[in-house]
Amino acid sequence: MIAYIIRRIFQAAIVMLAVGLIAFSMFTFVGDPIASMVGQDSTNEQRELIAEKLGLNDPFYIQYAHYLGRMLRGQFGISYRLGVPVTELFKERLPATLELSAVAALFTLVFGIPLGVYTGLHREGWISRFILTISLVGISLPTFLIGILLIFLFGVILGLLPSFGRGEVVQIGFWSSGLFTMSGLKSLIMPSVTLGMFQMTLILRLVRAEMLEVLRTDYIKFARARGLTNRVVNFRHALKNTLVPVMTITGLQIGGLIAFAIITETVFQWPGMGLLFIQAINFVDIPVMSAYLMLVAFFFVLINLIVDLLYYVVDPRLRVERTVGEGSV
């Protein structure tokens, strides 16, 4: 068990290092690292000083190590565009994105999994076909389009929900939350549905496909041959066997929500990390870009790790590696 955990953490670390390398290369070679640290309007003297301090004359790997060190201490540099430390910007924007992603993830799971199970169990019914058609549309629609159409329907025509922004937010420490106000909650609805829609349809289809496969296995057939009730066969056996392999991919998808938020935030003018990133791309604001990359990678790797550990807990085959009793028959 311990070995497994250590192995996974090790792999996660490798991924972070690899991503860090890319971020660092971007930082150093594409951007102007000096400007990243002191801002773009600085005198030559300041630049010389910083160049020395940053060790820009040092070999590549030493610079890389320093870069990682700075990352770990939360020093991401200074935004070209806004002249403010990136960390400040992140602190301001992160709650918005995290809340949005969390609600979207909830939407995805709460609808995706049960609907997937239903369409897997009732393969032929018209309700299933209907749901599947909707899911096909869901996969075909670009996220931004879903957002626009929702705004058009609920914002412009029906006037029920706000078309942009977060509504009123409540400040709790450094965290600004929209969950505690009516307008905040209303503002969350359309963006989170938009953000979660694509993943939801994906998970729906995945769960359905896996369910169909599981229902065709020998052990399900044997379970029926033993006279177990439909409920037990479907919801005790088939469901468990379906969800376990689906877990990894689901985790991956949820981890990707943070990055997908870029699109949704643009459509709804949601003041989060994604919007910041787009503005950074347009401006070629390297420090923001590379810091964003590291952050997304971190979240992704973290979620992956959690899912892997969960998987370990749930699938007994991973735990006991030897087959006991080979000799005796």
Binding site: L141, L252, A259
Partner: protein
């Protein structure tokens, strides 16, 4: 076209094509056409897709107005609603945008751009993916591990992020002036790079299967370069799955391009795609000129939906397990 290389013997393009066609023909046997004609939805999707794609590819000749020839535009025509409205105009069937351009024509031209970018990037993905898959499967060992690691890591990140990053980096490298010109190429490369992994994986596993077969060893004995034979035999075998992946990837590429253009980092303003049109229209959504957004949106949906339906059907039809 026959090329003769030492150790490769005659690597005839015709032979490779013939093998691939054979494989394709086998895959498209009567079973599949049967299921094709039995599903009216799929037939409808195919017709729609074909009509739409042909119309937009021939936009310069088919469109009612040559909307991107600045000389023909008249600002007085701007914001005309669709023809069935009281103040509409029959020559502008779906209305006009903020610069007096006919929406129907912009949709046709825009779809053309979307399609061309989509096809080009899929082609790029295929070349990179199939190539890397062949190498990875054939050479094996360290090279294979490395390529697969990279693939795994890349799969971790959403395509949109990779495309955006590539875009941003390209901008960083290119001098300011070249941004507009290079935008199209950058875009195709960005999308192409985002989607190669699926192709690579499939081709890699097929290659690994073929590599262990007897005829490869035999070929080495004869002196024929095994890679030549692999290409001749592996490619036809993967043509089925690659086709399915390509269809799905085409839909995704079109969506990616639309998203990037919508975000403002896609096609240059001189050659708007459907995404650009939607972005422009979005500015006027709240003020009432809904047709500028809705029609391009509908066009995008129809295009992607029909491609997805085709891809879905193709995948079901080619899947031996479900038959």
């Amino acid at each position: 076209m026959v090329a003769v290389y030492p150790g490769w013997g005659e690597l005839s393009m015709v032979k490779v094509l013939a093998h691939s066609m054979d494989g394709l023909k086998r895959a498209l046997d009567s079973d599949i056409f049967y299921s094709f004609t039995r599903s009216p939805v799929v037939v409808a999707a195919a017709i729609v897709a074909v009509v739409y794609i042909s119309a937009s590819l021939m936009a310069p000749w088919v469109a009612p107005h040559l909307v991107f020839d600045v000389k023909t535009l008249n600002l007085m025509d701007a914001f005309t609603p669709p023809a069935w409205y009281a103040d509409g105009n029959m020559s502008f069937l779906l209305g006009t945008d903020d610069q007096g351009r006919d929406i129907l024509s912009t949709i046709l031209f825009g779809s053309r751009v979307s399609l061309l970018v989509g096809f080009a990037s899929i082609l790029l993905s295929m070349v990179i993916g199939v190539g890397l898959g062949l190498i990875s499967g054939y050479v094996g060992g360290r090279v294979d591990s490395f390529i697969m690691r990279v693939a795994d890591i890349q799969l971790a990140f959403p395509a949109i992020l990779i495309a955006l990053l590539f875009n941003g980096l390209a901008r960083g490298f290119l001098p300011q002036g070249m941004h507009e010109e290079a935008a199209l190429y950058v875009l195709v490369m960005a999308i192409g790079l985002a989607r190669w992994v699926q192709f690579a994986r499939t081709v890699r596993s097929s290659t690994m299967v073929e590599k262990n077969k007897e005829y490869v060893k035999a070929a080495r004995v004869i002196g024929r370069h095994p890679a030549a034979i692999m290409i001749q035999h592996v490619l036809p075998n993967v043509s089925g799955p690659v086709l399915v992946i390509a269809t799905i990837s085409l839909a995704i590429a079109i969506i990616l391009e639309a998203t990037l253009s919508f975000l403002g980092v896609g096609v240059p303003a001189t050659q708007p795609s459907l995404g650009t049109l939607i972005r422009i229209g979005n500015n006027y959504l709240l003020s009432g000129e809904w047709w500028m957004t809705l029609f391009p949106s509908a066009a995008l949906i129809i295009l992607v939906l029909s491609i997805n339906l085709l891809g879905d059907w193709l995948r079901d039809a080619l899947n031996p397990k479900l038959r």
